[in-house]
Symmetry: C2
Subunit: 347 residues, 2 copies
C-alpha cells in the first residue's frame, strides 16, 4: 500500500518529509501555520494536489486558536492566514485553488459561528484528502484494465502517491495491480534534472514492494527496443482540449520512443488537469528553470563556466502519441476533442 503523504491526526497534521527521501523515511508533525508554510516552502511536501491539501490544513492551523467570537475579525484573520500560506510557493496553482476553495466554503456559510467556521475549514481540508483519494483510486481502477499479470511498465518523473494525498495518478494502477497480487515490474526513468524518478518514484514502488529498476532517461530506448516494456503510464501537468499534454520534461521523448517500438503510451490524470480553455499544446506556456539545476544539480559543478543551458521544466506531447488518457471517469480514447467534450458535457 502507498504511504499517506499528508494526514490529519486528532489535532495535528502528519506529513512525510520528502526532502529526506529516498534515504530516510521521516514523518513530521505540523501544528502551526508557520510550520506548514515552511514545509511547503522547503518542499517537504510537493506535488500539485498535495500542496493544495497542505495549504488547506495550513489555513486551519492558522485560525484554530483564534479566540474572539467576532466574525468580522475572524474573516480578517482568515484573509491574513490565506495570504501568508499563499506566499509559501506563489507559483503553485493548486495552492490558490485550495485557498479559494476554503474561502468560498467559509463565505457561503456566513450564518455560522466562529467556532463552526473553524470546524468547517478543518472538514473541508479533510474532504480534500478524501476526494483526492477517491479520484486517484478511480484512476487506479480504470488504469488496472490495461495491466496484465507479468507486465513490465515504464514511468517517467513522479506521478505517484507523494504528489497527491496517497495513491498517485500514474502509479495508482500499479499499486492496485500489486494489491490484487499481479506480478509486475516497473522501469523508472531517473528524470533529470531533478531526479524525481530515482528519488521519489523508485522509493514509492520500493515501499509498496513492487519490483522496480532505475534507468537514466537515455536508457528508455534500449529497454523498449529489447521488448522489455509492455506499457507506459505517465502523469500530466496540463491537458489541452485536443489531448495534447504538458508533462515533465522528457515525456515527449518517451512517447515518441513508445510509438516507434509499438508500446502503448498512456497519460493518467484527474479530469481537473484538463484545461478546455486551451485548444492545443501550442498554447501551453513552458516554464524555463534555473540553469544550475542542469550544471550544478548534485552539489558540484559538472559543466564549464559560462556555457549555455536550456532547462525547460515541461514538454508537450502531441495527442497523436497518446493511446489513452486514464481519468477518474474512465479511459478517454482519441479523438480527444470528442472524448474530452463528452466527459465535460455529461458531468
Amino acid at each position: 500500500m502507498p504511504i499517506p503523504t499528508i494526514q490529519w491526526e486528532k489535532n495535528l497534521v502528519k506529513i512525510i518529509d520528502q526532502t529526506e527521501l529516498p534515504i530516510k523515511k521521516t514523518f513530521i508533525k505540523v501544528t502551526t501555520a508557520s510550520e506548514m508554510w515552511n514545509a511547503i516552502k522547503q518542499l517537504k511536501i510537493r506535488g500539485a494536489p498535495a500542496i493544495g491539501i497542505a495549504a488547506a490544513f495550513g489555513i486551519y492551523l492558522g485560525v484554530r486558536k483564534f479566540q474572539s467570537k467576532d466574525k468580522k475579525k475572524f474573516l480578517g484573520k482568515l484573509d491574513d492566514v490565506c495570504s501568508y500560506i499563499g506566499s509559501s510557493r506563489p507559483t503553485a496553482v493548486n495552492l490558490f485553488w485550495a485557498i479559494d476553495r476554503i474561502k468560498r466554503r467559509v463565505h457561503v456559510n456566513s450564518e455560522a459561528s466562529v467556532h463552526e467556521l473553524k470546524e468547517l475549514v478543518l472538514r473541508e481540508a479533510c474532504l480534500m484528502i478524501d476526494e483526492d483519494n477517491q479520484v486517484c483510486r478511480a484512476i487506479g481502477e480504470h488504469g488496472l484494465k490495461l495491466i496484465r499479470d507479468g507486465h513490465s511498465l515504464l514511468t517517467h518523473c513522479n506521478a505517484g502517491g507523494l504528489a497527491t494525498a496517497m495513491h498517485g495518478t500514474a502509479l495508482s494502477p500499479m499499486f492496485r495491480a500489486k494489491e490484487l497480487g499481479y506480478k509486475i515490474h516497473v522501469w523508472v526513468d531517473e528524470t533529470r534534472p531533478l531526479l524525481q524518478g530515482s528519488r521519489i518514484t523508485a522509493w514509492e514502488l520500493g515501499e509498496a514492494e513492487i519490483p522496480a529498476t532505475i534507468i537514466t532517461d537515455n536508457m528508455a530506448a534500449t529497454v523498449m527496443s529489447q521488448k522489455k516494456v509492455d506499457l507506459v503510464i505517465v502523469g500530466a501537468d496540463r491537458i489541452a482540449a485536443n489531448g495534447d499534454t504538458a508533462n515533465k520534461i522528457g515525456t515527449l521523448g518517451v512517447a515518441v520512443l513508445a510509438r516507434e517500438f509499438g508500446i502503448p503510451f498512456y497519460i493518467a490524470a484527474p479530469v481537473s488537469t484538463i484545461d478546455r480553455e486551451i485548444k492545443n499544446g501550442d498554447e501551453i506556456p513552458i516554464e524555463e528553470r534555473d540553469p544550475r539545476e542542469v550544471t550544478h544539480g548534485f552539489g558540484r559543478q559538472t559543466a564549464p563556466d559560462g556555457i549555455g543551458v536550456y532547462n525547460p521544466a515541461f514538454d508537450m506531447t502531441p495527442a497523436k502519441y497518446i493511446k489513452g488518457i486514464i481519468t477518474e471517469k474512465g479511459i478517454l480514447n482519441p479523438p480527444y476533442k470528442k472524448s474530452i467534450g463528452k466527459i465535460f458535457n455529461t458531468s
Copy 2:
C-alpha cells in the same frame, strides 16, 4: 582550434588533465612510465585513441633510460614495461592495440641497436599522433559537406578532440566549420550517467568558441520538435558489417527521435571502428557498468537503498536510423553492407 590531448615536447609528454575539466584547464608533464600509468589509471587521459597513444609514449618513457647495450635484456625490459602499462586499464582495447603495435615495430627491426630501437619506439608513438590527426581531420573534411552556415547541430557524449589526439570524430566537422567562419551552434546532450557531454564536449566547444547549449538527455526531443536541430552527428564505439552501431548509451534514442522529427542522423568514426567480423548489432556485447554511476553519480546518493538499477554503457542503433557514416575515406551511405565492403576491398 581544438586543444591537443597529448603532445611530445622535447623530452617529456604533455597531456591535459581531463579529471580537472570542466573547471580547470591544467596540463601535466609526464616523464616516467609510472606517471603515465597513473595518468591512464586515473582517467587524466581517456578515450580509446588517446589511451592508445598514451600507452605508446608510456612504453617509451619506461625504456628510454635503459642503460645496457644488451638487446636481449632490452627486449625483456620492453616486455616488462608493456605488461606494466597494460595493467593500467586492462579493459581498454586500444591500450593493447598500441602495445602490440610498438612490440611489432621493435621485432621487425631486430637488427637495430638498443639506442635505435628506443628511438623507433618514440617515432612510432609520435606517428600514432600524426595518423590520428590525419584520420580525424579527414573525417572533419568529409563531415563538413553536411554542415551549412547557420546550422544548429546536436551531439551526444564526447566524440571530441579529447578522446583522440586532437581533432575528434563527431566534433571534427564542427571544428572545421568554425575554422572556415561558419556560424554554427551545437546542442550538447549532457549524457548521463557520466556526463561526458556537459563535462567534456561542452568544454571543448567553448574552447573552440563554438556556441553550445547543454541540455539534459531527455530534452533532445523538445529541441528537435521545435525545429531547432538541423543535423545530428555522434561517434561510435563499434560498427557492424551492416552498419548497426554501438555507441554511448542514449544514442539509439537520439537516432529514433531524429528520424521522427525529420533530422539527418550521422555517425562519425574512423574506418578502424568498423568490425566486419560482426555481422549485425545483435552480436555486439553490451557492457553493464556499476549501478552506483546511476545512484551515486555526483557524490551523493540519489536513489533508495537496494533498488534495482540497469546501467548499460552502450546501446545499439540499427542501421536503418543512420543516414550516413562519416569516415576518413568519405561518407558511407546505405546499404552499408555494400558501402562498407567497398571501402575494405579498395583499401
